[in-house]
């Protein structure tokens, strides 16, 4: 076993940021491994799972809906239930919501336009295994590129999530009509997180921003911890 924790990146038909995610995870210290959506199991010693961005199954029915019932999702569900860190990026976030591993749903952007730009995000909570290297109130610049990114939940759920620190990232300004400008949420246990912005596109300041690297490096930290907890020395 290498020192680098194994992080699985799930590939659905229509995923298009899978290789970017794998590259970025490698750049922040992980050993990435691509896992096909038809696989019923994850590699045995995997420390974390990433559901990447893209247009899984051509966004048929609703974004993420078909992927949420793919064979690999049973394995992801089991991994998450055992405390394994899971990160959904963009389409991956939509999939986690449709799989009901995360609260809420992603609606079409209010302006009905695809939005593709750098977004300033504010860290609202660090109660997530994917936020370990971030601090409360910190501002991160990470690009977004989505047509269905307006996060929505009913008012009661929203208030409860905010009170529990499950709203982890908010846009500094309204970019897509998301309720409360929510950009990312985490489950109650803190190990499953989803966000619309693309941290894998922001791992090098030379290309605009390295802030996404903070999130991915936090995930890799969590992956190492999860692996070590499962395989004591």
């Amino acid at each position: 076993m290498t020192d680098r924790p194994l992080v699985a990146v799930v590939v659905f038909p229509g995923s298009n940021d899978d290789h970017d995610a794998a590259w970025a995870l490698g750049a922040v210290g992980a050993e990435p491994v691509l896992v096909w959506h038809q696989d019923a199991e994850l590699p045995a010693d995997v420390g974390a799972v990433v559901l990447p961005g893209g247009f899984s199954y051509g966004d048929y029915l609703r974004t993420g809906a078909i992927a949420s019932v793919a064979p690999v999702m049973d394995a992801v569900r089991g991994f998450a239930a055992a405390g394994g860190p899971v990160l959904g990026i963009c389409n991956g976030f939509q999939i986690l919501c449709e799989a009901r591993l995360l609260p809420g749903v992603l609606l079409a952007n209010r302006q009905l336009e695809f939005v593709c730009r750098d977004a300033t995000l504010r860290v609202e909570s660090t109660a997530s295994s994917v936020m370990g290297r971030c601090s409360l109130g910190q501002e991160l610049v990470i690009p977004v590129k989505h047509g269905e990114g307006a996060w929505y939940a009913d008012e009661g759920t929203f208030v409860q999530l905010a009170a529990r620190g499950q709203i982890v990232l908010r846009y500094a300004e309204d970019i897509n009509g998301a309720l409360g400008n929510v950009a990312g949420v985490v489950n109650e246990a803190g190990n499953v997180m989803g966000l619309m912005p693309h941290p894998e596109h922001a791992v090098d300041p030379l290309l605009g921003s390295g802030d996404g690297g903070l999130l991915l490096a936090s995930l890799v930290d969590a992956a190492a911890m999860h692996r070590d907890a499962l395989t004591p020395a």
């Binding site: 749903v105 079409a108 009905l112």
Partner: protein, 80 residues
Amino acid sequence: MKAMVVVRPKEGILDPQGDAVGHSLRKLGFAVSSVRVGRVVDLELSADDREEAQTQVQRMCSELLANPLIESFEIRFEDE
């Protein structure tokens, strides 16, 4: 047995697609005050009786065809 499922955005849920269609209809000169866009799913299924079919389609709707957070659904059966 044939069934038709109509899925609609729930009342109060923003439907930008419907708004855009409404905008275009008004541009064409139609006096339309509101448009909501949903989807129709036609199903052919093997079930012994109507009751069983109803249960099956109900489950299909809550597990995949509709997202209960934002969509409502209606099930209709086509009588042979």
